[in-house]
Symmetry: C2
């Protein structure tokens, strides 16, 4: 780790000269000026991954939603709020050698978000929110005709049938790898310090042991370095 | 301030022997195990107020949603997530001499919240969320037949027609005071360090100058001490 940091500082790590875009954190989708739809991603895994990639010498563009953990040092930080802003930021960061989509992106945004705070009108009737699908950032990047990164990695946070859902997701999105994990509340992974992932590649599924999020990040960063070598 | 802290430590402040319930922070209303509806309250004003009341000698029960700022020291902390949990915690904390409802409570919860993560089914159709009105914590406390605190204070976060909405809110809820402020994004108050409030009492509306949230808290705590004297 110390050796890696020295190598990175000297521009000599295995990812020296590689540009990698990492998305991280949740997105927030506004309902009105004070309310929004969020998700429980802390940004911890994406932040650890960006740090590990930078430590191996990569030039990292870190596109982050409003995360609970502070962003890593030594990377270019682009702060966004919504899924649509995140897509635009990732596209603006291309071309890149790899894109790792670790953010927990909202599937939908509120199409009829209000300019003023929505108020109860005394009728007991709730507001009707019209949802519109957000752009699929992972698929959009993986299926680009121009400037498609050589390696596109997605994450799949599932609460059941983790590997089956993740393999289907890899095929559907057109990405190269999926890092799948089980975020059922019982696992304590969402917001916690550890992660237990399965790496899905074109060669099959590898179940990794339960590791700290830093160890998962370092292991994944080394795999990315091998793939780009 | 130092004198107040010494008095409080000696049980000698103007609020010594008074029990005050303070709610603070946002509530989170689950959509499914990973998604929720939130609001932009940082909990800063409620936290500052609880600290100021404790400094004046009060026994403070601090009922807080998932806030961005850490809770104050020297108070009893009750952590909740949803509006329904917050109401239950406040009711459990009674009887009390005063209740100050500074939390930004969601008006609605998702009646059809899912046990498993909602997934896009490929149809492009968005989920339909059925909203149900949350209990009105301020009105429920202010209109109690038994154990109504002598002083019930609400907050009104508005984006337009602040005083008119706040005066109507005071009458509608049956509370004694409303602390009203303008949380339009342009003011920078939501999530910021300052606040500019209007105190609405039975005697009318007092516009306070723009002050730090700590100063607003100290001023309001002194007014509460006078009201309970």
């Amino acid at each position: 780790e110390i050796l890696s940091a020295i190598e990175a500082a000297l521009g000599a790590g295995p990812l020296a000269g590689r540009r990698i875009v990492v998305t991280s954190g949740p997105t927030h989708e506004p309902i009105d000026p004070v309310r929004y739809i969020a998700n429980r991603s802390s940004g911890a895994q994406g932040t650890a991954l960006a740090r590990a990639l930078a430590t191996l010498g990569a030039e990292v563009v870190f596109v982050t939603g409003p995360a609970a953990v502070p962003p890593p040092q030594g990377v270019e930080i682009v702060r966004v709020e919504t899924a649509r802003e995140m897509l635009a930021a990732v596209e603006a960061a291309l071309p890149a050698d790899a894109a790792v989509c670790a953010a927990a992106v909202a599937d939908w945004h509120v199409a009829n978000a209000a300019d003023q705070k929505m108020k109860k009108d005394g009728s007991g009737r709730a507001p009707v929110l019209d949802f519109a699908e957000n752009p699929d950032i992972l698929a959009r990047i993986a299926r680009r005709a121009e400037d498609r990164p050589r390696l596109v990695v997605g994450f799949a946070a599932e609460t059941h049938d983790v590997v089956a859902h993740a393999e289907a997701k890899r095929a559907r999105k057109g990405c190269d790898w999926i890092v799948a994990n089980d975020v059922s509340p019982a696992t304590g992974i969402m917001g916690g310090a550890e992660n237990e992932v399965t790496l899905i590649t074109g060669s099959g599924a590898e179940a990794w042991p339960r590791l700290s999020k830093d160890e998962v990040a370092q292991r994944l960063a080394r795999r990315i370095a091998e793939a780009l070598a």
